[in-house]
Symmetry: D2
Subunit: 391 residues, 4 copies
């Protein structure tokens, strides 16, 4: 395990809790006290402040990177050197250039590579994706993902050099991959329009952003990300298709509600802002945020010698989309997604919108009105005239 | 009452239900059967297929326009001619040019003018606005309004010439005015970025659109509108401020849930799509959609000789914002909002983001972590270095 | 208006807000300052500390009783004396003996009598009742109503002599009438089992109670009432029928959610307990709690010379059910409901439970299992043997 | 694994999915096809129609009983004979006499015994229980658990001889143990009042019941169970304490909502009733229903040589409470819980309700009214007079 901070501890809780076979052998941290504390808390036999020592450790089969964004590439290159399987927290790189170098390095080295995008592994997301794949929503038109909270836990997130960006990079990476999954990971993202601003925090990076990603089949992915939200961790996905819709609330409204006057003040859940009044805990954060299913997928894939659901390639595509978002926020233009490597479909066209009502008309809409009538609205195939009739 | 269609009947239900003093004297409809049925249903003493006859009717004090968008201007001009108070359904015009002509006409004629934007009159909205005005959310950063459903009820909506546009004009007008109210009606909307597409319906106008409206104080208004949503009428507002957030669901999740096997099949509520399974009726559509409070405001204003909360001027501003949205959807650029007439503040600047932590640092964030520690993240005023410390 | 306290003010807000025709002429209060303040706030031309003077006032057409329970009877008898229409807050009496005397008095006097049970007039309840009457839920099996909060506003509620009881009388009266409406007001309540205790408050009356009311057709009404609930005003109804279910949340979860850090501290809504954190305001309390629809029904009934939906007779039946509840809480037995006057159906029997599956079997259940099979469970008509088969 | 039906398969999915170390060696079923199919689906090396053969199998360390209720005792006795650790589905016995015999047998044999009450292992329940133990709700006053659905999956449930009862035994066992956990498993349940009826199904057992369980400290446990509910699987817990409340929805409202027109028709979740309209799937049934955490607790306890959270003793207490419920449903009296073996506290008294306001008064209530005033209601210590004052 490289990194002993907030996310490293979350990963460790899941890694050692879920499958009782897996153990953390070695912990690398930049701070000695932190490394020692982690080693003691999670029973690691080895700790070090030398990253390569940890990666090269003979008992280590898999390296898990839980470091600030600016250290990912160096860590990945060391894994390539020592031929160790590597799994990396999100985002893969600070930008697509870094991500592409990492992708090419691991593929050249022939090592297992997994991209730890936990939010496409939440139980609700997996079930929703299954329904989408089964066609329950018809053709997907739009997929929105929203992740907002009052700001990240560690100082390096707020530093543009180390983090590589603000909430777009930190949170938007989740949203983009969620949309890609619903719309189809083989559908090419074409261009991005993004608004970003620093509305509240005294930082250089953006603390609020909204973006639209246009896909080749006409579907739209949307992200809403912020470090200025008050009220906890807002983590919602919505998908619209021609035959239905799905709404997922991963964190703040999950069927668990508590009111307390606050005479007791224990920890509620990640990024909640209060210990009294109405609180909305989650039952099992590791499971509900997807960590368990993610690591199970990773280790099962390693054991079977196959690719996990999320690989460095996915991390690379996400970085490319976010690069376009950052560029758009500056140029105020729709910016093309620069994808030197594209492994999905090409030349996908938009879907035909014409549904026959009868020989002469296309169907626009059927409905029952509130005063009881059944109505059909239709368009004449030749004249284009719209008319309605009551059946 | 001009117009006997879907919205005309809704208005009539509210008008004659709410304040027992008000009566509909005359109904104008383009279709005789429709005029007669309306007159009989609502007890109107007079019906006609001649619009001017209805407006000029001696007993008519207030003219309520519930006609297709392309007929608003002609009706308004007749009201000016006969010096009758006029209240008009939304949007005011098909574009800002029409809207501006109507605004100037009623002001020249000196007649009462009300803009029937019901969704800023819903009880939830009014209460939310009061909280926002009282500062419960701090400085407003973002206001999103979403209105999506499976498409409008009457044929003319689907015809570009009569309607003047698709779901942006039909639904976006609500969303824009909701955001204006939350952000401040005196804050100038500067520019608009809009994506729009015709994803499903065999029509020329857009059936799905998403837009961002930038205001002079740095706040962002967002609209999500569609005629392709499946699942009923989705009517949600969200507002984020520096001190809090508000989520309103006006229609689909209001604390009223019904499961039925569907052996009975009566009407549930506007634009619901089913009569069995889990249904989400609203208690009182006229009240929950704002019609009652809207007409009360209008008639009280007329009696007191003051302006209602929503006037033709507001309708004009909304049209100007939507014009920029339509232009942006074509040019793919952020388009400036063209406002020849602006009666709000000018030269508003963005808010200062710097909060002192101590003499040398600005505060970035305070929090309690999930392992119990209290942390402060701060930025050095001179060096700009971000650091954290545990208290 | 008799009474200028919490409920009197709520009534006044609704009375003078809803139908602009109705005015409060005279206010009677036991305290001079309170009477004067009320008169000034609501523009009453007359105030007095002599109840009869208010009732007898020449301009008063309708007397609205908003007094402590122990004063209802005296007020009603004065209305009978002066032949004034009378509407009374809930409960009608402190017990069925008082209620019966009031009922007989108003009927003898031939005056209009209305029972102000607002919770069967909420928009959600009215819509739900309509669905139940239309058969959407099939045969009604059970109706639960829950009203709990942290305790009433005025001192007299907590005094057993003035109030006549604790939360059973204060809140249970709502619940019983809600169940009667869903099950059928013409179905006789037979017997009651009730648990009651004083768990928290230093009072003689009960502060928590749960009761079951058995109806002649086999349906069950359930009430859950408490003055010890923490978290606001919990006001939920549930109904189960053979074909469906309805869940109503009248107050705490109505599609309106607000988070605020609490730097602003304005009033949220009746009986909420906090001004910061997640709050759940209602849009329009007067409407959502049924006051508007209740007074409209009352005044319309007076003008038309008919009975309102809720009369003194209903108040009497509710008191009789609650008397049985109080008795049961002491004797720990199911206690019969003593109804000297019964105007509904008699001799109703329980419904036949047997549905044919085929000639030889009754149907127990049909279902689709999670591994895809379709199963029928049935019972042999003669042998009674239960068997299943996969179709 | 004894039993290859619905619950056996659920158990197997969790057992072999969660901890990758555990394997099902042998499957016993009463039907050959069912045994073979199970063995093939779950990779069991051994199948048999002879129960003892399965239990005695050399590689079997732990026997998991997933059989109809009337077969539990025989299976348990065989485990005692062969000294195999045993874990049994709920309820433990058909009544307390059976349960007591099983409890005494396993304790005499000195074998590990676990009671598979999954609903006190759901992630939400575990988190809620932790909050309750930490005092977030203060002193617990009431705990309600509701489990209703349209009826069980297998024929034997509907047969009184095999099942031993109807929905009280099938579902009430969950509810009773949930309440015991919240109120304190060492607090003695004293007496039970229960209403039960067969309202819909053509069976001898009850299909709907409501019960109250009085505990020695004055707290109340409540269960609402039914096989007649329409709308899916309704699984809700509520707890009230002096300082707060918790509401848990385990199944129907968990932040996952889907609307589909139903052109696709795949399985949604256990006991849902429809494949179109608004559906409410759960993300991960095995986890959300507690199976994963339950088996982890069981296997960890076996490995550590300690008792699991839920043992046969708990199963015995639950059966004793349900026996009192069945008796009460017949006698219509509060029936004492017959507990020959009691291992918790004795002589617990009710809590003192008196909180000082000042030297002369007890505090009844403090509040802020909707017109802004702050009020205290108090009771004089000597005279008992209730009074209020505005601060």
């Amino acid at each position: 395990m490289l990194g002993s901070g907030f996310i490293g501890r979350f990963y460790a809780d899941s890694l050692q809790g879920q499958r009782s076979r897996d153990r953390i052998i070695s912990i690398y941290s930049r701070r000695e006290t932190s490394a020692k504390k982690f080693a003691s808390d999670y029973g690691c036999s080895h700790w070090t402040m030398d990253m390569e020592e940890s990666i090269a450790h003979a008992d280590v089969d898999v390296v898990c990177i839980a470091l600030p964004n600016n250290l990912h590439e160096a860590a990945v290159l060391l894994c390539c050197k020592h031929k160790k399987a590597v799994i990396t927290t999100k985002p893969l790189g600070r930008n697509a250039v870094e991500a592409k170098r990492m992708l090419e390095a691991v593929e050249r080295a022939g090592i297992f590579n997994g991209y730890l995008e936990d939010l496409v592994y939440t139980p609700k997301f997996l079930k929703a994706l299954e329904s989408v794949k089964n066609g329950a929503l018809g053709r997907i038109l739009w997929s929105k993902s929203r992740e907002t909270h009052p700001g990240p836990h560690s100082d390096w997130f707020w530093d543009l050099e180390q983090a590589g960006g603000g909430c777009i990079l930190d949170l938007g990476c989740h949203c983009v991959e969620i949309a890609r999954n619903f719309i189809g990971k083989d559908i090419r993202p074409l261009e991005v329009m993004c608004w970003a601003d620093t509305q509240v925090k005294p930082i250089e990076a953006e603390d609020h952003a909204i973006g639209l990603v246009k896909y080749e089949n006409g579907a739209i992915g949307q992200f809403e990300v912020s470090w200025t939200f008050r009220g906890g961790l807002d983590l919602r996905d919505e998908v619209m298709g021609t035959e239905g819709t799905i709404w997922i609330n991963n964190f703040l409204r999950t069927g668990f509600e508590m009111f307390t006057t606050g005479k007791s003040a224990d920890y509620v859940s990640e990024k909640s802002e209060s210990n009294s009044g109405w609180l909305f805990p989650v039952g099992d954060e590791l499971n509900d945020l997807g960590y368990n299913h993610m690591f199970t997928d990773m280790f099962n894939a390693i054991e079977k010698g196959i690719s996990p659901k999320e690989t460095f390639y996915d991390g690379y595509v996400v970085n490319a989309v976010l690069d376009a978002a950052y560029k758009s926020a500056k140029t105020k233009l729709w910016e093309p997604v620069q994808l030197d490597i594209w492994r999905g479909q090409t030349g996908v066209s938009k879907h035909n919108r014409l549904v026959d009502y009868d020989e002469e008309h296309y169907l626009v809409k059927e409905e029952t009105t509130h005063y009881g009538a059944k109505k059909v609205i239709m368009k004449h195939k030749k004249t284009g005239v719209i008319s309605e009739k009551t059946l």
